[in-house]
Symmetry: C2
């Protein structure tokens, strides 16, 4: 398509999404659940065709020489399709945030009844990379919160995403969903996204999921507010009063299980008084687990296989089986280090000392702060939100694990009896 055609196509989609979102304002929870059930049904009935369309993407990715990791993320199979279907049903089962009371207000004005209630945000644009299941997840979550959604997946998954969005959108519409409530940007041309990011008249929120580069470029170029996942440079601090066995157990869990996820630990700080007791054994376990250790001088003097850590190491989110380590003189030094080098995502203290725990909780400026638990537990489901749209490291609107509520906004509803100001 020519640039002008793409601009036109994108504008039409955005306007249709806005129109759909205004109709979704009056849709009941029951109606939305019926739409979601119809989507789950359609996925079930079309499983074979989904796999067929996905295979075209996978073949092309192989021919283009994409990495095995990327190809794995791109690939669907029956069990992954089943997981998508379960996902949609799980979303339908969640309580509807729309219409719930956000704040109970007492107006000092006689006969004026003021309520702040949750309402849909409007139109949400989701930008994501290879995984085709996000197409279905995101559509279900946005719809449940009463929003229209514009989906923009990765170019590698375009065939899969086209088919998935087509069947869920058609099924939804048959069950009463306004046309335009679920739409896909079906081109890989970059003009489409850069045009959409200008349409703040139609789109209320952009949620980018993917690499730091992707997110930063969207933040920079968007006129629409962005709700982004930042990086996760997470710390664990083993305090002077730590339970040593617990510290080792948590340090292993937080680093080794899934090093590539955002809530994995990247750096371990250890109080100097317990360093001699904990570091030799822990570093041995790390080395056995294949973890590369970058440590300060004291770490090196206490344990084997320690590579000297540079300033850059403390600033790095490895996303890998690597860890930076530092022995600190005090709780204060640990807090200062975390606030300076961390990404304000998830940080933990291991201590039996309540006063130290409270000081850490108050002074570490992160979206989630843990006492005697692994940062890996930062997750919407673990936190009781029922689902997770992502983890925000920004401070406005949503911070930390985000659930359905974060896909809504609020509205003041005021009933009077002819009240005027003066």
């Amino acid at each position: 398509m020519e640039n002008n055609e793409i601009k036109q196509a994108v504008l039409i989609k955005a306007a249709a999404a806005k129109e759909a979102s205004l109709l979704l304002n009056s849709v009941t929870a029951r109606q939305k659940n019926d739409m979601l059930a119809a989507m789950a049904d359609a996925l079930e009935k079309n499983a074979k065709e989904i796999l067929f369309h996905n295979e075209i993407d996978v073949e092309a990715a192989k021919n283009a020489g994409l990495s095995p990791v990327l190809i794995d993320r791109l690939t669907l199979n029956q069990s992954r399709v089943d997981a998508m279907i379960r996902g949609v049903k799980d979303v339908a089962a969640l309580p509807d945030p729309v219409g719930t009371l956000a704040e109970d207000l007492k107006s000092p004005v006689k006969d004026l009844d003021v309520k702040k209630i949750r309402v849909p945000l409007g139109v949400i644009m989701m930008i994501y990379e290879a995984r085709p299941n996000v197409t279905v997840d995101a559509a279900a979550l946005c719809l449940k919160a009463g929003n229209a959604v514009i989906l923009k997946g990765g170019s590698e998954a375009l065939n899969s995403n086209k088919f998935l969005s087509k069947i869920i959108s058609e099924a939804g519409v048959k069950a009463g969903m306004p046309a335009g409530a679920v739409q896909l940007i079906d081109t890989s041309d970059r003009t489409a996204v850069s045009e959409l990011l200008k349409l703040d008249k139609y789109v209320d929120l952009v949620i980018p999921r993917g690499s730091e580069e992707l997110v930063n470029s969207i933040r920079k170029n968007s006129l629409i507010p962005v709700l982004s996942h930042g990086k996760g440079l997470c710390h664990t601090y083993a305090d002077i009063d730590a339970n040593l066995d617990m510290a080792v157990k948590i340090a292993i869990d937080a680093k080794c299980r899934r090093p590539a996820v955002c809530n994995a630990m990247e750096a371990l700080l250890v109080h100097k008084d317990i360093a001699p007791q904990i570091l030799p054994k822990l570093c041995e376990l790390y080395t056995e687990a294949g973890v590369e250790i970058r440590g300060c001088k004291i770490t090196s003097s206490l344990a084997k296989n320690v590579i000297p850590a540079s300033e850059e190491d403390y600033n790095t989110e490895y996303h890998d089986l690597k860890i930076s380590m530092k022995v600190v003189n005090s709780l204060e030094e640990a807090i200062t280090h975390i606030n300076k080098y961390g990404s304000h995502h998830s940080d933990a203290i291991i201590t039996e000392n309540k006063e130290n725990a409270d000081r850490f909780l108050a002074q570490v400026d992160s979206s989630a702060v843990f006492v005697n638990a692994s940062t890996r537990l930062h997750d919407g489901s673990v936190f009781g939100l029922g689902c997770e749209i992502g983890i925000s490291t920004q401070k406005l609107h949503a911070r930390g694990a985000m659930g359905l509520k974060e896909l809504t906004t609020t509205k003041y509803i005021v009933h009077g009896k002819g009240n005027v100001r003066e």
Copy 2:
């Protein structure tokens, strides 16, 4: 100052504010109230000097030929200083939002206690125009919510602002406030603001108060999230089932009392079946009150002194004794008109019909929607927030009247007993 000097000076202030904000994380409500009391005291003791410094600004403004309206906004007198002092005391008396429970969470994981609590945002930058009292108001509100603040007032008020910020900052520090918690950008050079807007590492939020141009230019140029007051193109719709006397009373209040404020009505929509009963009298009252009427053809046919309304009129926030009017065929037409032309600020329906009221409340996409009340009631104090930082027309973080809570963010606080993910 040279550009480089300004950049350097701004960077130092921003870093100092960040440092102060980290210390403010552990300050109690009692300590903050002591700081506010000390500020109120200092204002009281220095009232004469405040007026002296303000007079320099007022003289300069007169010599520069500024409009009487602007000069009035700039001018302080004893009663305005008294109001500032009362304002600070009122803020001290408000409940502290910091540390309150934002969400009660039930983790499905055994022995994991998850709480979402309110914490300060960090560093807030306030950008505002002539009124010097905003310097004191904003500092008090930001401090009460545990934030450091960087103040940037209008150049006309620079002398007043310098003195006001100096005395409240010094008084606060004497009472235990971290240095750097209240700072003023004491230059009118534009480099200062454009540099600050890049410092997202240090500043968490920018709140611009002023003209649409000021706000838009900040939105466009800021790397820091912006919480802005948009314009207020507010509607009142007199429904087929309106109480006619009430409709007239509200239409007069919403338009005539203070036409220049953002929650004043700009447009009146009237159902065709009641137009003949209401418009002749209402338009007469408007004309008596000096209101210029821009109406549709039916309005013209029913009332005197009606200028034909253009498309542009329906898009205009007059901020003045002018009103656009339209006779509509249905509730649906009114809702569509409001969503199309309105600014999503405050809109009202006058009706005795509950079904119509509910449809209006659900479908009008505005920050506050009123039934049988004047849009002029959209106000933090009227809504029971105890104060008002402003009225947001954006959907993220805060929508509509904003209180102290909107100057905070949240943090997950998680207590475990050695919990790991797997």
